[in-house]
Symmetry: C2
Subunit: 380 residues, 2 copies
């Protein structure tokens, strides 16, 4: 072994083993995970082409179809966080010049706009104040104006806590021969979702919210109409890592090597999905709804107001108005430092105006709500 | 909670908790990880903006600089596997029309070609049979012909086991005002690497090989000349997830939210890097070299031949010629099924011709070599 130079030790930190505080994660995600999920992630590695691992991939695919209520064959986990899965939806079906209509009523709508533009889309937007949702007639008007190829909507806007209704949207899309792309990052596992019944063509999510897993392996699904658009592309997908025509050969029966999957995260995701299936989707959704109603009641008893109209509120994430006399950042820092409870602040238009409180996956429990409701008044 | 449809239970698998065989991973990666790394990954989650997590990110940055021997401020872990970090290097500095010269002497050289094309590069190649490397004069001739803006080389070609010498390459690049981009996926942590001394402008790697971590959080670094090209772009980076002008605001002092990091993988990466720093780079490199020489000796004693000339062989990954009378696939399946040992097969040009044996990170131990040398003759 030739060694050519002297080793520079300036960045050679001498560290102690990891010490991390034990937090109750009630922000917009990640959430605390079920101990069984952490335990599964602690399983020794196998290779990404090991028969045992390939079997696990199949299980993940089936269970993702279950939680999303879809029969889409191309239903996989992307090897990155939710943002990568978001980009995967746009990257695969967008070709330069495609008109992509994005519903923007929060931070993640804006992110879709930015991403779609990078794939050469002719991006159009329809906007609403943050915390509100689009009516079918508003969408209809926008369709008549823009005649989009792809409509991108955020089902559960993590920055506002609002749930976008989907009734009738798919019929509108089919009338215009338009694909329906849906962000379900903060809804999957916690909010009723029926992708096939709702005619959703492309959807993405994350692992660390309603599913109660650690972040880093993110659900992605693509139905037949979207696959047809992928197959008819004139250009290669402008993103190698997220190219579904390649990834599908690894997740499908060919098992062609594409990249080294984050093995341990897939262990965790399989366990998290297994737990949801064991509980049953209906019960899982109901649990999220029951606990959030208990939270809303408690917050109202403290004199606080929710930002979103009750009809459109998410069970997974609640935005609470910060009273004018209160320093919101001071409170959330005190919750973190004195009580080890994390809640989120507002983003963009809602910066400084709301707190964001998540009740997702394993954390959607009465016990979490009680801890927060006790600590919050002591932190003002 | 309105529930609109009946839940379809067809994909609701009823699974037992995860059971995974205990493999000795001696293929091209992932490798088995140090038990302390798995343990660190088992630490409960905190948020991606938690002060405790931000401190850990800083530690990862310093230690990555140490293992790469660079002072590059923009040295981070990308939230995806090595392929994502590879794509990040090209995506950030390539603009449509840029001449990217790629050295292709293996599978990953070809991958760079495919990726660079997707970012609009005018891709040129210089090729060699798989297992060989480029001489400086061959590179010089290619520069005179192609006058590239970016030269992409694979330092450690995982598909062939060859190590590309870098002496003089950086001077050539500077002469032509060209950036030097280096794949160090199979070298980081196991093979001497001096990025700054060698004038490397962009490099990427993975976590699951020489560093001995689980896959999913991948080292990326970018020096001042590459940053200048990023800052002077006429177009946005054509990849949102991997856009360093955004990511640098999360890893830098602004701490602007970009995506939810794969928290537990960062725990693991921090621990893996901590262990390398504790051992010391010199010793870590020497250990890889000593163990691979022990392996080569043992394989030769079995009558086997290495594919790569000794001078250019990697200490981390060895390609062994499969004797003509032997069914290579049968042997590797038997090793897996009867001995729980994983080795890799050949890719592309070397398909069916070689086995690929990895000795990386925690797995670079005499004990691993002994196990393989014992099992191999019993598996033919």
């Amino acid at each position: 072994m030739t060694q050519l130079h002297t080793i520079n030790d300036q960045q050679r930190l001498k560290l102690a083993p990891l010490k991390i505080p034990n937090r109750l994660l009630m922000g917009p995600g990640p959430s605390n995970v079920h101990p069984a999920v952490l335990q599964a992630m602690n399983t020794p590695l196998v290779g990404h082409l090991d028969p045992a691992f390939l079997a696990l991939m199949d299980e993940i695919q089936s269970l993702l179809r279950y939680v999303w209520q879809t029969e889409n064959s191309l239903t996989i986990a992307v090897s990155g966080t939710g943002t990568a899965a978001m980009e995967a939806t746009l990257a695969n079906v967008t070709e330069p010049g495609d008109v992509v209509l994005v519903g923007v009523a929060g931070y993640f709508g804006n992110r879709l706009v930015d991403m779609a533009g990078r794939y050469g889309a002719d991006v159009r937007t329809i906007t609403k104040p943050w915390g509100q949702v689009f009516s079918l007639s508003e969408l209809r008007t926008a369709f008549a104006t823009h005649r989009p190829t792809i409509l991108a909507l955020v089902h559960a806007e993590t920055s506002t806590g609002a749930r976008q209704p989907l009734e009738g949207v798919s019929d509108l899309c089919r009338e215009y021969d338009c694909l329906l792309l849906l962000d379900t990052v903060t809804s999957l596992g916690g909010v009723p979702l029926f992708l096939d019944e709702w005619g959703v063509d492309l959807a993405y999510s994350c692992s660390q919210k309603g599913l109660g897993c650690a972040p880093g392996a993110s659900p992605f699904t693509m139905g037949p109409r979207a696959i047809e658009k992928l197959q008819k592309r004139r250009t290669k997908v402008a993103n190698w890592y997220l190219d579904m025509s390649l990834l599908n050969k690894y997740w499908g029966h060919e098992r062609t090597y594409h990249h080294t999957a984050p093995i341990n995260l897939y262990y965790g995701l399989r366990e998290a999905l297994r737990l949801v299936a064991e509980e049953g989707l209906e019960h899982c959704w109901q649990r999220h709804q029951d606990n959030v109603e208990y939270l809303w009641e408690g917050l109202e008893d403290l004199g606080l107001t929710m930002h979103v109209e009750k009809e459109f509120r998410l069970p997974t994430l609640t935005t609470v108005r910060i009273p004018e006399v209160v320093d919101g950042k001071f409170v959330s820092q005190r919750l973190l430092n004195d009580f080890n409870i994390e809640i989120g602040g507002g983003l963009g238009e809602l910066s400084g105006q709301v707190w964001r409180i998540g009740l997702m996956g394993f954390n959607s429990r009465k016990e979490s709500v009680d801890k927060l409701l006790e600590a919050l008044p002591l932190s003002v």
